[in-house]
């Protein structure tokens, strides 16, 4: 239990750091965010200065501490202000529309990639020099390709030229969003290619990591002992070698999540997938600072939460995490 409490405390600290960074960015940046916006939209009247200030939340009266407290209060109530580019929509309503898309697509695809990669890593380590193992350098090429570039190519070849998949978007224009069968079918149809892109680009990383840890565990004496006892090969591989190699793999999963999610966001842009990535692009291209900052917070919190879940899984899988006092 103390392991979980420690981790929880850590994530709270991390969340607080992210919140604080987010608070200080507009205040610490050279120049003035309000002026930056004013200069980027030359047709704004000088009288708009106060309005933009209020919108960005930088013109708050009172001391810095006072601003900080009211900022935390706003975030706690999911009040991120108003979007500049899609006025008068609030930032939270925009986020509410896009989060489910990203969460479903990136979440499921990442888990699939992790499971498949770990499985392939086990096979590659157990059958060293076999065809799975030898395919690894080829897969590493896919991993090195920028997500969005592979997405571009796949979109062009499989969707535009071969008509195997729909071209971009989250769902077809002919269906009405909601919990009806045609819409869900269309959404699934539209998500296959983006999900496939995520899987193919990230699977090699999980595979390489699992293989390398697994190769070391296979050399351990307890694996040899398992074989010597005459246990069937599958049992030795899965229960002796893989189970122990899986723990570092899980920890790596939590730590690498930030990278994977970031890559997936850029990939969404290519597919015009109606998720947070696309929202982020529109925020960047229209200098929508409140939206950008809120997206940063949301993604950070999502990654922290996913890490907490990974830690819970570790407690289930690893008896040492349960018994050790100061587990770290």
């Amino acid at each position: 239990m103390s392991f979980i409490l420690r981790r929880l405390a850590f994530y709270l600290v991390a969340a607080w750091v992210a919140l604080t960074i987010n608070f200080f960015i507009p205040r610490a940046m050279p120049g003035n965010a309000v002026q930056a916006i004013m200069s980027k939209f030359p047709n704004l009247q000088p009288s708009a200065y106060k309005a933009i200030e209020a919108m960005l939340g930088v013109g708050h009266p009172g001391s810095l501490w006072h601003q900080y407290v009211s900022y935390l209060d706003d975030v706690a109530h999911l009040n991120f202000g108003t979007s500049v580019s899609q006025y008068p929509a609030t930032v939270s309503s925009l986020l509410g529309q896009t989060i489910p898309w990203t969460l479903t697509l990136v979440g499921i695809a990442t888990v699939i990639a992790f499971v498949v990669g770990t499985g392939l890593g086990i096979v590659a380590a157990w059958r060293r020099g076999g065809w799975v193992d030898r395919a690894l350098p080829g897969l590493m090429f896919f991993q090195a390709i920028p997500y969005f570039f592979l997405a571009l190519i796949l979109l062009e070849v499989l969707a535009v030229t071969l008509h195997l998949f729909p071209i971009g978007q989250g769902f077809s224009q002919t269906v009405t969003p909601g919990w009806n069968l045609p819409f869900i079918g269309s959404a699934v149809d539209h998500s296959i290619l983006p999900a496939f892109t995520i899987v193919i680009t990230s699977v090699a990383g999980w595979m390489l990591q699992m293989r390398n840890v697994m190769v070391t565990t296979i050399g351990e004496d307890y694996v040899l002992a398992g074989q010597a006892k005459g246990l069937p090969g599958r049992r030795v591989v899965l229960n002796y070698a893989a189970r122990n190699a899986f723990l570092p793999q899980l920890q790596g999963f939590g730590l690498a999540l930030g990278f994977v999610v970031s890559g997936a966001l850029i990939m969404e842009i290519v597919f015009s997938y109606p998720g947070i990535g696309l929202l982020l692009l529109s925020a960047v291209s229209s200098n929508d600072y409140p939206l950008m900052q809120a997206i940063f917070l949301v993604i950070t919190f999502a990654v922290l939460f996913a890490n907490l879940i990974v830690d819970l899984v570790i407690v289930v899988v690893d008896p040492r995490a349960r018994s050790r006092e100061g587990a770290r």
Binding site: I25, I145, P146, F148, L280
Partner: protein, 349 residues
């Protein structure tokens, strides 16, 4: 990879062949391929901008030169506004590599300082620095980069380098801290402390040289991260769009619809360059891993014994199966094979 065992060779004849070549040959294949690829890119980055056939930004007004497929005059074709793709690529490789290398150096130095300090000071300092490391590690870098760079009045090379470096060190710092903790308790460190060496001297001459491999690996990883992040940032337009890097090439190709126009020679070269550069770095790193951990080395020097692939580092195999029944000729031939040695020889029927 062939491994020559120096069993029968006389000691004198062993040292005669050029050692550099021998060392190169002993490198894992992955590392060799990676190093060669990286060398080609480095060469392109160094001499590329000197030999570019055209000014990469020069827009040829002649409409016949718009979107020209690769040919003699333009080896990689032209963009929509008649710019030479090859020139852009050569200049772009330099800018991207330059940025990645600087970020790699700065972030790795930060990682070494923070990792070594945390492990060596211990106690509350270690707690604090480890906490900092883990927090920066767990906060997703790309959205933060976008917000930070989005606020900057001008988006150039320098702010990007600065911000990428500030977010790129924790992975390395974590590894280096763990390694330093392991080395710190070794005898030679205790010995140098007994002889009155100063702390900075112990750090600089006893501990850090023992972490060269790890530092090199984390440098390569950081360069990889810097390339990926800078290209992604440029792709969504958070960069100085008037300069030519692999990322801005992709940005312009995407925003001017190179793909829809069928101009593969426009968007493919920068993408493939990034991918090859990334592959080279990943291969190099795998090679480093293999150098440090013999178990990971490729299976080329394995031999097949009793139907199993075995490497020299493997434990002695435990074989369950009864020897297969064979005909008289097969059994006779088998008695010469290596597997007969393992299964206790001959077949008792």
């Amino acid at each position: 990879m062939t491994v020559v065992l120096p069993v029968s060779a006389e000691p004198s004849s062993l040292s005669v062949p050029p050692r550099q070549l021998g060392r190169w040959r002993r490198l894992p294949t992955n590392a060799k391929v990676g190093a060669i690829l990286l060398g080609i890119f480095a060469l392109a980055a160094i001499i590329g901008p000197l030999v570019t056939p055209y000014d990469p930004s020069f827009q040829n007004p002649s409409p016949s030169l718009s979107l020209q497929a690769p040919g003699a005059a333009h080896l990689l074709g032209t963009t929509q506004s008649g710019q030479d793709v090859l020139s852009q690529l050569l200049v772009g490789i330099r800018l991207t590599l330059e940025l990645a290398l600087i970020v790699g150096v700065v972030a790795t130095v930060l990682a070494v300082i923070i990792g070594v300090t945390a492990a060596f000071l211990g106690g509350a300092w270690d707690e604090l620095l480890s906490l900092l490391t883990n927090v920066v590690l767990v906060i997703p870098a790309l959205p933060l980069l976008i917000v930070l760079l989005g606020y900057l009045p001008q988006r150039g090379q320098t702010p990007t380098i600065l911000v990428l470096s500030l977010l790129g060190w924790p992975w390395g710092a974590r590894l280096i801290r763990a390694q330093t903790l392991a080395i710190r308790s070794r005898d030679f460190v205790a010995a140098s402390r007994e002889t009155g060496e100063k702390t900075w001297r112990i750090l600089a001459f006893e501990i850090i040289p023992n972490e060269t491999g790890l530092i090199a690996a984390s440098f390569v990883n950081t360069v990889l991260y810097a390339i990926g992040a800078s290209v992604a940032l440029a792709f969504i337009g958070v960069t100085d769009l008037s300069s030519w890097s692999l990322g801005t090439m992709l940005y312009w190709a995407e925003s001017q619809q190179a793909l829809q126009l069928g101009a593969w020679w426009w968007f493919a070269p920068p993408g493939i360059a990034v991918a090859l550069l990334g592959t080279a770095l990943v291969l190099l790193n795998t090679g480093f891993d293999e150098l440090g951990n013999p178990r990971l080395r490729d299976a080329a020097n394995a031999s097949t014994i009793a139907g199993r692939r075995l490497r020299p580092t493997d434990p002695t195999p435990v074989l369950l199966a009864e020897p297969p029944r064979r005909g008289r000729v097969g059994g006779f031939l088998r008695s010469f094979s290596r597997s007969s040695l393992l299964d206790g020889g001959g077949e008792q029927r």
